[in-house]
Symmetry: C2
Subunit: 394 residues, 2 copies
């Protein structure tokens, strides 16, 4: 499992050589490539496509075989089979082969959709991912999954395929709205709790600076998070998820359910923050996780301006998340909890009475800070009007 | 890369427990499964579907979620997107998950098409392959590839995915016509030449018995061939073909071209036999492969009743096969030849003048035996009327 992971500050500008060097010349000393971008990026930089095309033109060994093309961002791109067909047709039209390159610049959904097409064409065109969200830079960008939604089911169709390279570029994060920006750091908190006490301390110390988008704090947080995720994938021994345990899904059983209960008005990163909150509370009540870790975790999430509680958690419907989580991989239920920071443990049973207590504890900790005026961020990140469990009006 | 490879004599009859045990119970102590069969099998055993359904019914831990369904065999199944859609719809209809099983019984094309659908549904349903041709049992059945034809290109769309299990059942070979039956053994000769002098001796000694379908000789030949292929895949360090060299493609550069030049009237196994003949001749002329190995190789292939020469080889068009072979993986040309049995060597240049001599040598050896009356098998396996390079009339 070869990974080329690069960290850059402006790889579509001054640091384009980093990207250029990842494309090794093949036939006739040329690297043939297509570039797909998330349409959302054009709001931030309307000239991005032209800028990329000009960069390619400066390198004799690069052959951009078609104009840069934009795709809708978010789940829309994964919901539309016509977009996948279009991607495949373009790959065929330009006669890309297994030594050609597909560069994709975008959020997780665009990376997923383009990655799926790249993975099945000739059993795999070389894919270079440039994630544009903190979530994708800190976590999913280095993953080996790609998927599209089919039969109205999220990620029903997909493959496991290792990307040729991942370039985490700081400048690409500039266009992110604050709410999106914060969402990547719940995965950082998650992986720190699972694997790295020093990183957990770092996040606790610098949470405000990260939320304020101070570049040095952001850089360290994203970098350490992605390296821990990558280490897990490459050395964890189970890149293709054949085992029942999925440690990186700590905090996710309730998160997935909360997302669907709120019809995705709660973002994934927000739902994970809330999922972490109740799972550390449960780990405390059931597994002896020190109370101090619970407090520091919630404090860190709050200062990252991520929500730590949602009314949906008080409803029994959230427990369906446990069964859905079990079904996702089949077999018996396995969720990962922690005995301490860096000490994960797999459990196969959840004591629902204790889980209800954990949810109440998370709520009380959330409410107490809100009352004390320290935590307005939760409501601003996740206003109740936009996270109701009612169907959307559109 | 876990492989469960089983050898059985009648796994849809008396030895069904071998198959049943491969399906581990999951949710509710039940293994959910679908079974897809190659329609060609129904000519051999019209009651096969019912027989399989009855076997499943005897095992409380097995849940056959739908009737056994037949698919057209040969390239037809890989050419029709509607069949792939149908497979995906059935997987969705029956709500198979990543702990469910898809059992596929058929020739290489049916294994490929069903394997592709199984690989992309939920990023991989557990696939159990029961190959029904000598070619698939001796070689491709244990491979990690699957593919369908798209944009009128063979294998354009596909994935790499490791099957959950492969069951090589002798009885399933019974229905094969003689010509198909023989086709699997050119891959056995190929892998013996590359890796195993003792196995090469075995094939030389027992070629007539294999061609006569004597079960013990066939069993050893298929078993050793598949084990050598599997060993290469699991220990060769390049299961997903990221490197330029593909040693298992010895003899294949001309074979692929000959297949397309003859519009697939020459079968893959036949084309590989002819490809091996010219590549051992070239290895002799250029790399010092002992002449005795050339003679024994051609003698073995002939006694397996495989063709060792075809008029198409005398045309320069066959050399396009070298360029197409290079293009297939991109990068520079790399073909594997041999200095002796078990001593492969990669070369990056082919001396076309010497290759023409090699083709002539292969022709002379083929003609000499035909004249001596020892080699009528070539023409019976591959009559000139059915291997012309003219377009087919259909």
């Amino acid at each position: 499992m070869v990974h080329r992971l690069r960290f850059t500050r402006d790889c579509l500008g001054d640091e384009f050589p980093v990207l250029a060097e990842l494309m090794e010349p093949g036939d006739n000393s040329v690297a043939r490539a297509q570039v797909w971008i998330d349409a959302g990026l054009l709001d931030w930089d309307p000239h991005l496509s032209r800028r990329i095309e000009r960069q390619f033109a400066r390198y004799p060994h690069l052959d951009l075989v078609a104009p840069v093309e934009a795709l809708p961002g978010g789940e829309a791109v994964k919901n539309d089979p016509a977009i996948i067909d279009h991607l495949l047709e373009c790959i065929h039209r330009d006669d890309l082969d297994r030594r050609s390159y597909i560069v994709v610049i975008g959020g997780g959904a665009v990376l997923d959709a383009v990655g799926f097409a790249a993975a099945v064409a000739h059993r795999g065109i070389r894919l270079i991912r440039l994630p544009t969200t903190t979530l994708a830079q800190a976590d999913s960008g280095v993953g080996v999954k790609n998927a599209v939604n089919w039969f109205n089911k999220k990620n029903w169709k997909g493959t496991f395929a290792t990307p040729w390279a991942v370039v985490n570029d700081e400048k690409l994060l500039e266009g992110l709205p604050d709410r999106e920006f914060r969402c990547g750091f719940s995965e950082a908190v998650k992986v720190a709790l699972l694997k790295d006490p020093a990183f957990f301390d770092f996040l606790h110390t610098h949470a405000d600076r990260i939320a304020d988008r101070e570049i040095e704090a952001v850089r360290t947080a994203v970098r350490q998070s992605v390296l821990l995720h990558l280490q897990h994938i490459t050395r964890g021994g189970d890149p293709f998820e054949t085992r029942e345990a999925r440690p990186l899904d700590f905090g996710h059983w309730s998160a997935h359910k909360l997302e669907s209960l709120t019809r995705y008005r709660v973002r994934h990163g927000e739902a994970v923050a809330m999922g972490i909150a109740i799972d550390v509370a449960y780990s405390h009540l059931k597994l002896g996780l020190p109370r101090g870790v619970v407090d520091r975790t919630l404090d860190t999430l709050r200062r990252l301006r991520l929500p730590t509680w949602h009314p949906g958690l008080a409803k029994d419907a959230v427990f369906e998340g446990l069964e859905e989580f079990r079904q996702h991989l089949g077999g018996r239920l396995t969720i990962t909890l922690i005995r301490d920071v860096g000490r994960p443990v797999d459990v196969h049973e959840v004591d629902l009475a204790v889980m209800r207590d954990a949810i109440e504890l998370a709520q009380s900790l959330d409410a107490s800070t809100t009352e004390s005026g320290e935590g307005p961020a939760m409501t601003s990140a996740c206003p109740s009007s936009s996270v109701s469990t009612d169907p959307p009006h559109e």
